[in-house]
Every structure is written in structure tokens, then in C-alpha cells.
């Protein structure tokens, strides 16, 4: 993995929602092709903001984001989708009045000619969605919606998939499913960057984790190393060795 080329590079990002108030104060990250990256940190550390800044949803005031060497800083969401970046928001991540199939069709909006082919591919990962393709997404449970949201983002066959707290609000069983599914998606060759509250579970499946604190990327190491790191254990994992 460490020999793979760098696909996404964030350099010293400074970003925020309101004028004059920065949430990110110099966040950097280097992601290699095929990696599964977890971003962890305490509440208010800027994890989700970091992900949104990568996807152009929060204006980047300084620093740069490059995708395979090309500058993508502050591009519009639809432009990033065309370049192979997918994003799954934490909440409001489906079109409730559209059917599951229509939700997936919207995911492939920019590549509608390959919709049928992509639908078959997604059907292998999420067979249940194909069975229930004519059901309205608004009638689904949180876990099912999360599945639709991930499948929608995968319809464009992205190189990089950004997941904002995919396990938030789900039951423990559904959370486990989500982590396993994220791992499966990553194994198909998609580079995944996920933000997670459930730091332990996230680090267990991650190739590498980034620890964010007060808007800066404090340090990075492999998931296994971070799980054993005394400081991480004290701050984010609670008890030792549990």
C-alpha cells in the first residue's frame, strides 16, 4: 500500500463556515491509492469540516487539495463528482420522495449511459437494494438509507469515496454491517476516507488513521498502532485494552 501513488493530498487547509472564524487551522493529509483512511478526534475537532472542505462544501481559505496531482481546491460538488470523488453526507443522504432505483440513477446522473452496468455492479454489493428498487427511499430505516447513500455515491465508480460518520445513529448490529461494507467497498479498489465517532471500530478496519485535534491534524499512524497508542486510548478510546 505504501508503494501506491498518492491520490489525494490536502496541504495545510484553513477553512471555516463564518467569516473570520476558522474551524480548520492547517489540516494536512496524504492518501495513497486503495487506502482506507479513518479520521478520528474529539467532538468539535473539525473532522466533518475537514471532509466537507475536501469536497468543496466548506470554503477553503488557504492551502490546497490535489487529486492525482491536479488542483481541486474549492471546485463545485458536481465538478468533483465528474473527477471521481464521491461523498456520502452524515444526514439527509437520500432523496426521500424518489425510489431506491431513482436514487441510484441520480448517483449516475453524469454517466447515465453506463447506468444499467453500474446498477448490476452495485447489485453485487447491495443485493437487497435491487430487490426493493421500487420502494420510496423516504420509507427506509436509517441503516437502509445509509446503504442507499453509499450505493448512490458508488454509481459513478469514484476513485475516492468520502464517508461522513457512516455509523452515526445506527444500532450496534447495523454499525458492524456498515464497517464491514466499507471494508468491502475498499477491497473493490476504491480509496475510502471516513470520519468516525466510533474510533475503536474505525481503527480496527483502517489502513491508517488521522487524529484531528482543534482543527489540525495532530498525527497519523496505522490503525493498529493508533489502537495501542496510550494517548489515543486515553483521549478517544476510553479504557485500556477493552
Amino acid at each position: 500500500m505504501t508503494s501506491n501513488p498518492v491520490i489525494l493530498h490536502a496541504d495545510n487547509l484553513i477553512a471555516g463556515y463564518l467569516p473570520g472564524i476558522n474551524i480548520l487551522n492547517g489540516c494536512s493529509m496524504e492518501v495513497r491509492q486503495g487506502e482506507l483512511i479513518g479520521i478520528i478526534g474529539p467532538n468539535g475537532a473539525g473532522k466533518s469540516t475537514f471532509l466537507k472542505a475536501l469536497f468543496g462544501l466548506v470554503p477553503v481559505r488557504d492551502g490546497s487539495v490535489t487529486l492525482a496531482g491536479e488542483d481541486i481546491t474549492n471546485l463545485r460538488a458536481d465538478q468533483l463528482v465528474s473527477r471521481g470523488v464521491g461523498f456520502v453526507p452524515q444526514t439527509n443522504n437520500v432523496f426521500p420522495s424518489l425510489t431506491i432505483e431513482e436514487n441510484l440513477e441520480m448517483g449516475a446522473y453524469r454517466a447515465h449511459k453506463s447506468f444499467k452496468k453500474q446498477l448490476e455492479r452495485i447489485g453485487d454489493l447491495f443485493p437487497v437494494l435491487i430487490e426493493r428498487r421500487h420502494q420510496r427511499a423516504g420509507s427506509l430505516s436509517g441503516g437502509e438509507r445509509q446503504m442507499v447513500a453509499m450505493a448512490r455515491a458508488l454509481m459513478m465508480d469514484p476513485q475516492v469515496l468520502l464517508l461522513d460518520e457512516p455509523s452515526a445513529g445506527l444500532s450496534p448490529v447495523r454499525q458492524d454491517e456498515t464497517f464491514v461494507r466499507t471494508r468491502d467497498i475498499n477491497r473493490t479498489g476504491v480509496t475510502v476516507i471516513m470520519v468516525e465517532q466510533n474510533a475503536r471500530r474505525c481503527l480496527q478496519i483502517c489502513d491508517r488513521g488521522y487524529v484531528l485535534d482543534q482543527g489540525t491534524s495532530a498525527y497519523t499512524a496505522t490503525g493498529q498502532e493508533l489502537l495501542k497508542d496510550p494517548k489515543v486510548i486515553e483521549l478517544y478510546l476510553g479504557t485500556l485494552g477493552a
Partner: protein, 324 residues
Amino acid sequence: MAEATTPDPEVATTATGGGTNLLLQNLFNGVVFGLLLALASVGLSLIYGTTALSNFAHGEMVTFGAVLTWFLATPQPVTVPLVPVEFHIGLPLIPAALLAIAISAALGWVQDKVVWSQLRRRRVGLVQQMIVSIGLSLALVNFIQWWIGGRPVRLTTSIDPRVQYGPISVGNVTLISMAIAITALLGVAFFLQRTRLGRATRAVSDNPALASASGIKVDSIIRIVWVMAAGLAALGGILLALYQQGFSFDDGTRLLLMMFAAVTLGGLGHPYGALVGSLVIGIVAEVSTVWLPPDLKFATALGILIIVLLVRPQGILGKAERVG
């Protein structure tokens, strides 16, 4: 063919009656009015759905269709305010109406390009945008009054003779108007349900941020919605002017409340809510005149709005979404 005259009060009153069964006749009139109201309000609903803007200038877009048709069809010389030239156009009614719809749709494009997309890009709040639309409405209604004057204007001088069908009497122009309205509304439904662009429009209605994150160009979709809304409003205005045998500069403005009521009653932002809400408003308003004074008919329709919202706060078609 067409000229600016005051409608004959006799003709105007016979346009809403004449059948042998008062209840059935009024029910039928209600369906006619409901369909024409739906044409006018479906665009209002689409704009609200995709941008969350309550467009108070929508009524003038309805009047504008009738004004342009009159302008293009009247055989008399006509002028446009601030333009020092006299026009003698005098097109036949149907080409004039088609051209008026096309011009209105083009103005919908211009309106979004020049005003609304700029406000959205600068992240101007929705209340502020609504106030802008109120200002635009006032400016337009005064401009139209300046243009056509304060008296009612007719699109055609020919009288639509009423034909008796069982207990209902109706003119052929009204029947053709209904057919046009139904075709146009089915066209909108087909667009929303069966075309990729239409499904993307519903996606933008549901969640613009997610639509953008899916690769949909949200602003292009909204532009298309404005063009459709302006075209449909113009068509509604033309057919209403024919149905009511004339129109005034402020007809659209007075219709706006009914349109808002229809859209709210049907389910705010729901694509088919405007149709269902308009039919309910039209039927209630007309049927109520069987028992209540005609002056109260719109008040009765708004009373129904309150009752329905008390029972179904999301409107008739609006769906209560589960949270989380």
C-alpha cells in the same frame, strides 16, 4: 378578431351558469377553474420545490401571458410603455398565444439568470428573496396597468356559444381550454416521472445539496424550472382570460392567494400537490355558490384550506417523512 373592449356584463355572468342542474353545473365550473388554476400554480409549486422561494410575482407571470397575447393579437395599433413606436401586429389568436407563451418562457429564463440565480449565488436569505419577489410583483402589476390601462381587456370579441350536454352547458372554447390544460398537466407529469431531467428536478426538490453531490448541476435544473413555470403560467393566464371573457391588469395578482392556497393545500413543493389543491379550491369555490353568496366563494375555499391543514398539516399529498 381581438380588440380592447369591456366585456359585456351579461356575457360575463352567463359564463358561470346556464346548466339545468345548478349543483352539477357548478361542480363542472369548479373543475374548469381548478384545471386552469392548476396550470397557473404548478410552476409556483415547482419553483418552491426546487428553490424554497415563495414567488409573489407569479401572479403577474400569469397576467403577462394574457397581456402579451392581447398585444400580439389586437388589430388596433398598440404601444408598449417607454417605447415611442406604435405596433400593428394583429396576429390570429392561436399564433399570438403560442408566441406569448414562448416569450414568457424566455422571460422566465432571463428572470432567473438576472435576478434569482444571482441572489442564490450570493446566498441571500429566503425571506429577503421573498421580499424581492413582492417588490417585483408590485412593479410588474403597475407596469401592466400602465400598459393596458385599468379597464378589463378581451382577447377575442367572438362569443363562445354554449352547448347543452345533459345537465351541463358549456362553450366549445372552454372545452378546448380544458383539453389543453389536461394535456399540459399530463405533459408536466410525464416530464417529472419519465424523463431523466424530470427525475433530477424531483431530486433537486428533495435535497439540492445531495443533488449537487450526485453530480447534478442544480442551477441548470432550476433554470429549466423557471422556464417551464413561466410558460405554464402564461398558458394559464391566456386560458383564464378566454374562460372569463376578458382580463384586468390585476387578475393574476388577485389569483395569487388562490394559487398559494392550492399549492399549500395539495402539499407544499409536492409536484402534483398544485393540481390536487387547485381542483379542490376550484370545486369548493364554485359549488359553495349554490348555497352561499358568490362574494364569499374564495373565502370558503380558504376556509377549506384551514380545515385540511388542521387535519393533515403536510397537505393532501404531502408525505410525513420519518425522522432519522
